[in-house]
Symmetry: C2
Subunit: 299 residues, 2 copies
């Protein structure tokens, strides 16, 4: 089976079902396999998750972008979520053993086509960023369409691709590559919320802890426990096991026991394989050693 | 996607390519997806690995059995590997999250058809065994066709299904259900082979160690290491992590370090998931949380 990518484009409409139907249809047209559609009327925003072969993913995003440009007018858009484009953000995510480099190249090819065919200014973010300042999506998008419209000519806001003026109704689009984020929690056998907060602070990247880890302390009052709740933004750097053992050590220093941990939602097979590799000191263990993969991936 | 099973039937011919071609064709006929064929002329024996939906697997085995009965004559068969039938052994193995109970029922249905349609005496083994004495294939098959021919009437050798007399040319068939075996080694930083042998003895099931673990000590002279080499016959009971930490503790007692471990060949996704579940104290983690599974399994 040829390599696959996942893409999770965000659109600035969550109130007109016919618009999202047209977008989903545009993604399915070239063969995109839509696995989830989240419509959020409150934020007036929708998120589609689909999987496709590389060329199909490019064609699907260009087709979806065309519908978004035709049907969504940001000058009339209301909603609190920050957004700068009708098709606001397009991340490409590796699927199974598809390399990140494939997603980065795909982001750049797709961005070039969106610029050329739809006259959209394009910003590359995440692993596809052309400069370190554009790695963080929040920073690229900042205060959204209304602000970008005024400042797109500023030296630090010149698009990576396409016109140097904003699209009057469709704004601009951020196109990027990233790995999936893992939501992971560790629960501690104490009612002392201070301990969870202390440990969260010790291990989070922003205060000098483990790289690519965001952490907060929460109370699980109904269970008589506290929780260190995390987002692992790059499991290749800090995986669940590394975080688990770090928290276990910090808890032990305070005489507190780890009760259990929770992987929230899905993780990539690559994250499971890398964790086992580290836990068992088995550096050669790889995804092709998963019995089912050969059959599932049609190899 | 409907549930799948893997089956790994063994045939008593490894010298006539046309016979194996006919058998592989018979498996493919109803839709069996053949992923491996091992032909062993030295032992005059072949092993086919295929994956199929439940009903397809049953039809494929009956079709393959028909070819084996027609084309293989055990009275003229030579080869050192123990065997009692033309189609000697038929194990059904769970694929992904297919439950073992499905494989056991499939073994019983397929055995009943082989008995009825091909007049083969059938012995159920492994998890499909009807009595504890028949769990071990080696014990069911014992000294093979020539001995069974004389003793099939004995009280302890009466077939579970089908005629109580041996098939004159095709013998008898063992049909069973089992989980995949995992070959797993742990390498120790010492040249003292005695230590590997001691630890192997401590942890293997047969001398009171970990259940479902077979272990031997080997010398890796060229690397200046020794190895505890294992077969994990039921990873649901003793997984890699449990074995790894047990060996690590035994090695530490002797002042020896674990250098690395090796997972040899493939492991089921279920084994990876269960290992992570244990390592992270994450009892709810399951296969459906593997991002790729949904897409691969066509759910």
């Amino acid at each position: 089976m040829p390599p696959l990518v996942e893409s999770v484009p965000n659109f600035s409409d969550g109130r007109r079902p016919e618009v999202m139907d047209a977008i989903v249809g545009a993604i399915r047209g070239p063969g995109g396999r839509v696995i989830d559609v989240q419509v959020d009327p409150a934020h007036n925003r929708s998120v589609v998750t689909f999987v496709a072969e590389i060329q199909v993913a490019e064609d699907a995003i260009v087709a979806a972008g065309r519908v978004a440009v035709d049907r969504i007018d940001l000058t009339a858009h209301e909603g609190e979520h920050p957004r700068m484009g009708a098709m606001d953000v397009v991340p490409f995510v590796p699927f199974a053993d598809t390399p990140m480099s494939t997603c980065i190249e795909l982001a750049h090819r797709t961005g070039a086509r969106l610029a050329r065919e739809l006259r959209l200014p394009i910003y590359y973010y995440g692993e596809a960023a052309r400069t370190p300042e554009r790695r963080e999506l929040e920073r690229v998008r900042r205060k959204g369409f209304e602000e970008l419209r005024e400042h797109i000519g500023d030296a630090d806001r010149i698009p990576d691709e396409g016109p140097r003026t904003i699209h009057p109704t469709a704004g601009a689009t951020a196109v990027g590559a990233r790995i999936p984020l893992i939501a992971y929690n560790v629960n501690l056998k104490t009612r002392d919320l201070g301990i969870a907060k202390e440990i969260a602070k010790t291990i989070r990247a922003s205060s000098g802890g483990l790289p690519n880890v965001k952490a907060l302390g929460f109370d699980l009052a109904d269970r008589g426990l506290v929780q260190v709740s995390m987002n692992l933004t790059d499991y290749r750097v800090s995986n669940m096991w590394r975080v688990f053992t770090a928290i276990q050590a910090e808890a032990a220093k305070r005489g507190v026991e780890v009760v259990e941990s929770e992987i929230v939602g899905a993780i990539p097979l690559d994250a499971a394989v890398r964790t086992i590799r580290e836990v068992l000191i088995e550096p050669k263990f790889n995804m092709d050693q998963i019995l089912e993969k050969k059959v599932w991936a049609g190899e």
